[in-house]
Structure formats: structure tokens, C-alpha cells
């Protein structure tokens, strides 16, 4: 259980913790954009950068690292609010604002770091996508991998293979729900769901017609859990009704 100091506060964390975990344990806020608790860290947005010094380094020698994926080590010193770090984050947000000048989330973060307007040329074709990769990462995590990033540089974007409706997509909406700027459009109802140009049929309760997941979602999880797809069909309301009927039949044994 290594001990380290974050902004002068001492914390003890698990040996597999990250600097971000340590900062949170110390009650210090570190901004993040591409970090999500349920997913492996990626370190892509560069907003969570902190100054870090190892135990055996000179006292004034610090390295700028991303907190979300840097492992902790005994005796580390972490500074999250040095001038250099604040300026680094400011530059990151300046660049992000250039790409996404109309995106409220980025505008808010930029304002917190003193930017009302990007100092670069704003994107002539503004996009809400901040390329945080959360959508592709959650899709990989679920084991579907229907979308990925394509191209490089200016042209980098998130898309299904060949920009066609992705054959692997199960319509779980995890990508759309996790997107911090809500830039993945979708439609959903008890009958139909549409995302990434692909249409899905919802798995409807045979008696009441209610639905929360797609047929493809049920298939995907049925395969992994060894239960038939029909297990997922019954709506929660129908299941509660069934449970109530079971309880009514129970007798109190004296």
C-alpha cells in the first residue's frame, strides 16, 4: 500500500492505483475528459496532466504525466496545480476549443482556464466530437467493437467500418450514453432502434409489448451467459407480476 503526497496531502492507496485515484483519495480534483470509471484509462485527452516526482529524484525535478494511467509508487510527490500544469491544461483546452468551438462542455472547461475564444483558427466545420475515444472504448469493453476511429490528422473521426451500418453493432446505445458531448445521434422506441445507420428490432415482452433492449443485445448476452434469448424477453413489469403470483401461493408455515 504505497504512500504518496498529492499537493502536500499524504495518502495511502492500493498498489495498482493510478495517480488519478491518489488525487481523488486526497480530495484533490483533477479535470478529465476521456476518463470513465468503468473503463481502462487511455490518456488521450491530456487534460488530467499533473507534475510528478519519483521518490529517488531531485526534489525540484518533476515530470508532466497523465494522472489517469500513471501508476502510483511509494514516496511519489504529485502537484496538480503548478503554473506549468495550469498552462498545459490551458493549451489543451485552447486546442480543443479550436476543434469544437460550439460545444458547451468544451466552452465551459475553456472558460474555467481563462479562455473565451480559441487563440487558433476555429474549425470552419465545427464538430461536437472531442475524439475522447470513450465510445470506441466502451464498445470494445462490451466485446462488440462495432466502431473505431478512422483516418489521421484533420480527417480523424469515429465511424463504423467503411462508413456503412456496422454489422457487429448490437444497438446497446452505450456509445451514445457515454459520449460527454452527446454527439452520437440515435432513435429508440419500444418497436425500433436506430444508430450508426443501422436499424434494430426491439425485444418485446410477448404479453405486454414493452421493450428495453434490442434482439441483438439479448443474443449477445445470451451467448455469453448460457441462457436462452427468451430469458431477456419478459418485461420488468411482467416479471414483478409473476413474482407477486408466486408469493400469493406461499403459505406461512407455523
Amino acid at each position: 500500500m504505497p504512500t504518496l503526497k498529492v499537493n502536500g496531502r499524504r495518502v495511502i492507496v492500493d498498489s495498482d492505483a493510478t495517480l488519478l485515484d491518489a488525487a481523488r483519495a486526497a480530495g484533490v480534483e483533477v479535470p478529465t475528459l476521456c476518463q470513465f470509471d468503468g473503463l481502462e484509462p487511455w490518456g488521450g485527452c491530456r487534460l488530467c496532466v499533473v507534475d510528478m516526482s519519483q521518490a529517488n529524484w531531485d526534489d525540484d525535478w518533476f515530470k508532466v504525466v497523465t494522472a489517469c494511467n500513471h501508476p502510483v509508487d511509494e514516496g511519489m510527490t504529485v502537484i496538480t496545480d503548478s503554473d506549468r500544469i495550469i498552462e498545459t491544461r490551458r493549451v489543451v483546452l485552447d486546442l480543443l476549443l479550436a476543434r469544437c468551438p460550439d460545444t458547451p462542455l468544451i466552452q465551459q472547461w475553456a472558460l474555467e482556464y481563462g479562455i473565451e475564444q480559441t487563440s487558433y483558427t476555429p474549425n470552419p466545420d465545427p464538430d461536437d466530437c472531442i475524439l475522447c475515444g470513450l465510445c470506441t472504448r466502451v464498445c470494445d469493453h462490451i466485446g462488440v467493437s462495432a466502431i473505431s476511429s478512422i483516418n489521421r490528422g484533420w480527417g480523424r473521426e469515429i465511424a463504423p467500418p467503411f462508413n456503412q451500418p456496422p454489422p457487429d453493432c448490437i444497438g446497446c446505445l452505450a456509445c451514445a450514453e457515454i459520449c460527454p458531448t452527446d454527439c452520437i445521434p440515435f432513435e429508440t422506441s419500444t418497436v425500433r432502434r436506430k444508430i450508426w445507420g443501422k436499424e434494430f428490432e426491439m425485444l418485446r415482452d410477448p404479453k405486454t409489448g414493452e421493450a428495453v433492449i434490442t434482439k441483438e443485445q439479448a443474443e449477445h448476452f445470451a451467448e455469453r451467459s448460457g441462457v436462452p434469448m427468451t430469458y431477456f424477453e419478459t418485461s420488468d413489469r411482467s416479471k414483478r407480476r409473476e413474482m407477486a403470483k408466486t408469493f400469493e401461493k406461499l403459505q406461512v408455515v407455523k
Binding site: D37, V138, Q217, F221, S225, M243, E248, V252
Partner: protein
């Protein structure tokens, strides 16, 4: 002392106060959330409370792709770790008893977490059909409810 949530089905009068208490305890800005306890109404003053069983080998925990459902060892409840939930709704489909709720208003999944050890519904139940008792009392059979004494006459004032 380990506590357990005890439901005595025979004592439920389907008044729905627990549902209201739960919805308001978890809502915000005056907007009630979806209630995590549901009364299956079978007739006048006849109800069956259905609430999360905090299963030992929970289907919701097994199906969650981001480990957003985990046991709180102090309360015994299976809690949602909101920061890990990706709203895929697989747990709603997986729960065999229908105790996972999808709340459209708050756009998230809700489940009973025993309110961190102080269930807000329990004090509202007029008949003690739901109770928060020490584990040793779980097996004590409930007192039958005197339903006759529940009824009262309404008159026109003579």
C-alpha cells in the same frame, strides 16, 4: 448487528405509501424518481410488495459489462456505482424478478439499495408489511393483520 429487509406480504394493504416515499426519497427538485419498491395490487387493500432481493448470486451483477453493480458489505445491498453505469439496460432485462427499473425522467437505471442502511420506505408502512429488522427476526412469522379493524364507517354526518 446485521439487519435485513423483511416483507410480510399478508400485512400489505396496498396503500402505496412506500412507493411514494421511495420515489420522493430518490427524486430531486421535487420530481419523484421511479419507485424501487412496487406494490402488485390484487384487490381492495390487497397488495404484494415486490422489491430487490439483493440476491446472493445476482444476475444483474453478472451481466453488467462495467461492474457498475456491487455489494455493499455493510448494508448487504447491491448498489449501483453511478460513475460506472453506461445505461445499456442489460440489468433491466437480466433481473429475473423485474427489480431493476429504467427511469426515463432521469435517464438512468434505478434499483433498491436499502438507502445505505436506512430504508426510507419502512417508517411509512402503516401495517409493518415492510420492516428493517435484525437478521435473527427474519424467520419470525408475521402477525396476521386484523383486516376487519381496518375498515371504518363513513357516514353522512347524522
Amino acid at each position: 448487528m446485521h439487519m435485513i429487509y423483511k416483507v410480510s406480504v399478508e400485512r400489505c394493504i396496498a396503500c402505496g405509501k412506500c412507493e411514494l416515499a421511495c420515489a420522493f426519497a430518490h427524486g430531486s427538485e421535487g420530481r419523484p424518481a421511479k419507485t424501487r419498491i412496487n406494490i402488485h395490487r390484487r384487490g381492495p387493500e390487497l397488495g404484494t410488495p415486490i422489491v430487490c432481493f439483493q440476491c446472493d448470486d445476482a444476475a444483474c451483477v453478472a451481466v453488467c459489462p462495467t461492474e457498475a453493480l456491487a455489494r455493499n458489505v455493510e448494508t448487504g445491498a447491491i448498489e449501483m456505482v453511478r460513475s460506472r453505469c453506461i445505461s445499456c439496460r442489460m440489468c433491466v432485462a437480466a433481473c429475473p424478478f423485474g427489480n431493476m427499473l429504467w427511469d426515463e425522467t432521469y435517464h438512468c437505471v434505478q434499483k433498491c439499495d436499502l438507502c445505505g442502511g436506512d430504508p426510507r420506505c419502512v417508517p411509512f408502512c402503516p401495517t409493518g408489511a415492510i420492516a428493517w429488522v435484525p437478521v435473527e427476526e427474519a424467520a419470525i412469522p408475521p402477525e396476521p393483520l386484523d383486516r376487519e379493524s381496518l375498515t371504518f364507517e363513513t357516514g353522512t354526518g347524522v
